[in-house]
């Protein structure tokens, strides 16, 4: 008797307790579904919970966020936008132009967030004069991941130029190791291409060719030379690269079957998951260049325009949770990236992340902070798509560099 009473009372009280605790819910669409991503997201949602808001998770994984954008389109068409959504590249700016995002100017000025972010990064969170999203992390795309044992055995150290890297590759090939691990997926090829493009021609050339899409630059001799170099890099890749996932390629490096991989710092998690230590078992260094640059990829959350004041207050809490330095630190320790805020202390991060911090500081000072083309932070999708098509076709066929440059120029003009 007594027990049932207790149970009944506790059940009756449960919703009351929950309601008293929660000031409202924050519902967000995102495409973080892997184990480490979910763990990292929990850092933000825990912080949100301490502010008294409940997180309602609407994860839509797959196709690098294309599925999530589909979900958003449907929700907007039905007049039922989510409270917040994860954006990559120009996505946030594009939706801001459609007038569905809420300006966050007051939050930015009141909390001094604009001063905490690198100026080049602001271009992706600010539409005209309005701040429209809050960035949580910054991945660096132009990394080379290498197996230290393989490097030591072949007597190779960190290459300082793409020519050195190619020469080292020939040595490794002779030693029976795959010099460069990659797959034939078009985005993996594009990552290598844009690294060569920037590293051999400098950040300003990248801005002119890829961001401004300047036709004389795109059809110039530097572009032909870039494709020539990519052709040489093709020689460093084994023939089993068909349909190889990037993480499988990372595994080849970790197991010593391959020497290097050009990949963003999301590859670090694959090494760490195998219990390997940076500096001891694997090496990380930026893609080789005389003109150092930092290719960034950020994840940012935008807030949709909503009439309900409780929901707007929830958005404020969500934005504050994301921009909290402690949250940014904890989130990025798990995710493998570095905080989007430039003012979070570097201690507790590993050597690769520390190098990212230092290189970012230099790049910001030198104007060498660049958005990554492959992940949609340089050219708009319709132009980035042309780069993808031409570069991936060039890589797997015997297309000449001149033909590739011509196809690139024609394709860009057609998409304009």
């Amino acid at each position: 008797m007594k027990l049932t009473t207790v149970l009944a009372t506790s059940i009756a009280l449960m919703p009351v307790a929950a309601m008293a605790e929660s000031k409202g819910t924050v519902e967000g669409i995102h495409h973080w579904v892997s184990e480490s991503e979910v763990k990292a997201l929990k850092v933000i949602t825990d912080k949100l919970a301490t502010e008294g808001y409940t997180w309602q998770d609407s994860a839509v994984g797959g196709l690098s966020g294309a599925n999530a954008l589909q979900a958003l389109r449907t929700r907007l068409a039905a007049g039922n936008p989510p409270t917040t959504m994860q954006f990559l590249g120009y996505e946030g700016l594009d939706w801001a132009k459609e007038g569905v995002l809420r300006p966050l100017n007051e939050l930015y000025t009141a909390n001094g967030w604009d001063k905490a972010l690198a100026p080049q990064l602001l271009a992706f969170v600010k539409s005209d004069n309005d701040f429209i999203s809050v960035p949580i992390n910054m991945h660096r795309q132009n990394w080379v991941w290498a197996n230290k044992a393989v490097f030591d055995k072949a007597g190779i150290s960190e290459p300082k130029s793409w020519d050195e890297l190619i020469a080292a590759g020939e040595k490794l090939k002779a030693a029976g190791v795959i010099p460069l691990a990659m797959g034939d997926e078009s985005w993996q090829i594009l990552e290598v291409f844009e690294a060569i493009l920037t590293d051999t021609n400098g950040p300003d050339f990248y801005k002119k060719a890829v961001i401004d899409l300047d036709e004389p630059t795109l059809s110039g001799p530097e572009m032909i030379a870039t494709f020539d170099k990519l052709r040489k890099v093709r020689g460093l890749v084994d023939d089993g690269f068909t349909g190889r996932d990037w993480a499988v390629a990372t595994g080849l490096v970790a197991d010593g079957k391959a020497a290097m991989q050009v990949m963003g710092d999301w590859a670090k998690g694959e090494f760490l998951a195998k219990g390997l230590k940076p500096g001891q078992d694997f090496l990380c260094f930026p893609t080789p260049t005389a003109t150092p640059n930092f290719k960034f990829v950020i994840d940012a959350f935008g807030m949709f325009k909503l009439d309900d004041a409780t929901l707007t207050a929830g958005q404020d809490a969500w934005a504050k949770a994301i921009m909290d330095p402690a949250v940014q630190k904890q989130f990025n320790l798990i995710k493998g990236s570095i905080p989007a805020r430039s003012d979070v202390p570097v201690d507790d991060f590993d050597d690769c992340a520390k190098r990212s911090f230092a290189d970012r500081e230099t790049a910001v000072a030198n104007g060498a902070m660049l958005g990554g083309l492959t992940e949609g932070f340089a050219a708009q999708p319709q132009f980035a798509g042309v780069f993808t098509d031409v570069v991936s076709k060039f890589f797997v066929t015997d297309m000449s560099s001149q033909e590739a440059v011509q196809a690139l120029v024609d394709g860009i003009n057609n998409a304009r």
Binding site: E98, D184, E185, Q380, D389, T397, A407, D410, A415
Partner: protein
């Protein structure tokens, strides 16, 4: 004075229309209205979200100036012709062989039909590994001792589309076989006996008598396989993901990436309309001639 129809008669006149109307409405909205909507989008300057302005045939011009679209169209024709021809030939052969009163026919039939139970995603993934030179057929044959054996079509842009054909044929042959087998079972054995009495050889009987009598089965197989080949989106996505270097792009994959990944909704809609027109150009005259002849026969 006209007498009102009794209620029962009224009901019996209206009931069929009443019962059909919801499905007609769904078909009208879900198919024809959206076709019209897509036509409209293809004539607009839509990029990320639909825009309802009018730019004439700009998007079609842009579409036909895209090399990737040319690859996609060429691939669709190569794929459809080979896929239909090989699947029908193999399916018919298997059906004829199974029709010879073989032992364990039920078991064999199930074996050949099984691939049909898989989704194209599974087929694509399995064949991706089978065709990979470092994991699949080439490796196995090399390890068996024939070290010079090379089968790397999936890595070569000029051959990769044939890999898609192989996987699709593997999946659909059993299905064609089942329909042909049903057709064969429907043929009166007395016709075959009559032909035998006339002194016709067995191949002759099949070629001149039985195959022509399978016409309805051919119609079903051709219609069903052609629409499989036009919508062959998942198979390409799983097997090659459009690669290597865009060599196995299909109109359906092109449409998806233009519309949903590259902010070129207008171009995507234009490609969808081109696909619709292609299907209509092939299927409509064929259906028309088949159905008309059908009416003449009966």
């Amino acid at each position: 004075m006209r007498s009102a129809l009794p209620f029962r008669d009224k009901l019996s006149r209206w009931l069929p229309r009443l019962v059909l109307s919801p499905s007609l409405l769904v078909v009208f909205v879900g198919v024809y209205l959206f076709i019209a909507w897509t036509v409209w989008i293809s004539l607009s300057s839509s990029q990320m979200v639909p825009k309802f302005d009018f730019v004439g045939l700009d998007q079609y011009v842009r579409l036909w100036a895209t090399p990737r679209w040319h690859t996609a169209v060429a691939n669709l024709f190569i794929f459809t012709v080979l896929f239909l021809a090989i699947t029908i030939a193999l399916g018919l052969l298997l059906a004829i062989l199974l029709d010879q009163k073989v032992r364990a026919e039920g078991f064999l039939r199930a074996v050949y039909l099984y691939p049909m139970a898989l989704s194209f995603i599974v087929t694509g993934t399995a064949w991706k590994w089978i065709l990979n030179p470092d994991l699949g057929v080439e490796k196995v044959v090399n390890e068996l001792g024939w070290s010079g054996f090379v089968f790397d079509w999936i890595t070569r842009p000029e051959f990769a589309i044939y890999c898609v054909v192989i996987a699709a044929v593997w999946q659909s042959t059993g299905f064609a076989m089942a329909i042909f087998l049903a057709g064969l079972r429907g043929i009166d054995t007395s016709i075959i006996k009559a032909a035998q009495i006339e002194g016709a050889s067995l191949p002759r009987i099949y070629l001149s008598v039985i195959v022509p009598m399978l016409r309805p089965a051919f119609l079903s197989v051709i219609v069903l396989l052609s629409y499989i080949s036009i919508k062959s989106f998942d198979l390409v996505l799983a097997l090659t993901n459009g690669g290597p270097g865009g060599a196995t792009e299909m109109p359906s994959t092109f449409m998806f990436s233009a519309t949903f990944r590259r902010n070129q909704m207008g171009v995507g809609a234009a490609s969808a309309i081109m696909m619709l027109m292609t299907v209509a150009a092939i299927i409509v005259p064929y259906l028309y001639s088949e159905l008309r002849e059908d009416r003449n026969v009966h």
